[in-house]
Symmetry: C2
Subunit: 256 residues, 2 copies
Amino acid sequence: MKTIVLILAYDGTPFCGWQRQAGQKSIQGCLEAVLTRMHGGHFTEVRGASRTDAGVHAEWQVAAFDTDRDYSPERWQQAINAQTPPEIYVRSAREAPLGYHPRFAKKGKCYRYWICEGRFLPPFLLNKAMLSRPLDVTRMQKAAAYLIGEHDFSSFRAIDCQAKTPIRTLTRVDIKRHALPYAYPVFPNEESGLIQIEVEGTAFLKQMVRIIVGTLVEFGLGREPSEMQKILEAQNRSFAGETATACGLTLIRSLE
Amino acid sequence: MKTIVLILAYDGTPFCGWQRQAGQKSIQGCLEAVLTRMHGGHFTEVRGASRTDAGVHAEWQVAAFDTDRDYSPERWQQAINAQTPPEIYVRSAREAPLGYHPRFAKKGKCYRYWICEGRFLPPFLLNKAMLSRPLDVTRMQKAAAYLIGEHDFSSFRAIDCQAKTPIRTLTRVDIKRHALPYAYPVFPNEESGLIQIEVEGTAFLKQMVRIIVGTLVEFGLGREPSEMQKILEAQNRSFAGETATACGLTLIRSLE
C-alpha cells in the first residue's frame, strides 16, 4: 500500500462542492468514482485538504488516497485526467507517507475573490466574479487591517458552522483593483475595474471568506473603516455583511 | 427612425454561431428576439459585421439595427444586457447614420487564437483553447511570414466557401508564447505554455483563420517554413492543415 497526493485545479460551477453528497455531482465523488473503478470496484476514498462550497473554484487543492497499485505518480495524473470531467484537472501527483491526510498536514490556506464593478458581467467572468457598484478600495483596505491577526471571528462564520472555537488567525488580506482587459463602459464617468481580494490564514470558519468579502463591500460603499472593529467585537453574525456569492471565490493555495 | 450600433462581446460556447438559424440558439437570433419584443412584436433585424462560427467567441463584434423608439444608446445597452443570455454582453451603444451596415463599413478584422501546449486543458481554458503538443514558435513565425500581404488564399478556405474571389490581404500574423499563470507540469522537461496567434486582415474567407492556425501547428511540429509558400501556390485546400477547433478563436476587433 502507498499514498498518492494529488494537486488539483477545478472549475466549481457544475459541482455541489468538494464533498461527496448522495445524488449530486461533487469533486470528491467524481475522483472517487474514477479511482474505485481503477481499483476493480474496491471503494477508494479521497481525502481533501479543504471542503470548498458549491460553485467555489480551486487552483490548488490537495487531495490524497491510498492504493495497492504500483503505478507511478505521473500515470495516476494522466489516468485521472483522462477520466474525470474536464472541469477537474490534476496538476501533479506525488507519493507521500502511507496514510497522509492533507487536512491535518496543512499549514494554512489562501483564497482569492473577484469583484467586477459594473451592472453586467463580461462573458469571460461568468461564474467567476460577483457584481458590485464601484467600490472605494482605500476604505476597504483600512477596514481589512482590523482583521489581521488572531481574533474571535464569530461575526464572520455561518450560522450552522460546527467549528469548536471561533478563534482564527488571518495573516494577510490584500485588496487591489485591476483594469479590465479592455474598457467596459459600464459606469461612465466612474472608475471601474476588477477588484481582487486575497485572504490568507492558518484556518477558516465556514463561509468565513465570503462573509469577510460581503462585509468589505459595505466598507467599499462608504462605511467608516473603524466600524470593522465593532463588528469583530460583537461576536455576532448579524453585525457583518451578506455572504458574498460562491462563484467569485477560488482556493488558490493549500499550504502543506 | 434611427440606427443604433452595438459593440458586443460574447462567449460563443452555447451558440450555433452568429447567424440566425431555425430551431437553434444564435447570437443574432437572441438579439433579434429581445429587440422584436421591445418593438411590440415588430420584427427587428440585427445586422452584424462578422458571421462567427459555432463556438467562436467575440470581444468586439459590431452590430446595428433600425428603430423608431426614442431611447438613448445607454438605455438600449442596459435593456439588451438585461434581457439577453449572460454569454452576450453589450459593451457600448451609439447612434449611426440611418441604415448603417457594419459589414459594409468595416475596414478589417482581427482574430486571436489560443493554443495550450499540454495533454489536458486547465479548467480556466475550457472551451477557450485547442490542445497541442509543444510547438516551435520560431518555425511558426517564419512560416507565417509567407502569408503577409495580398495572396490567393484558395488553400485556406473552407470547401464550401462562397466568396467570389479568394484574394485576400493579411496585414499581421503575430505568434507568441505566454507562460501559463502557474506551472502546469503537463509535459515534464519540455517547455510548455499558452500560444497566442493574432491574425489581422482586411477581410477573410470562410474558416480562413482556423485553417491558417491548423497549418501553422504543422510547422510548429517541424515542417520546413519555406513549404508555406508551396501551400499558398497550390491554391488547393488539401495542401493546408486541418481546420483548428472553433473554441480557440475569438474575434477581437471589427475595424470600422
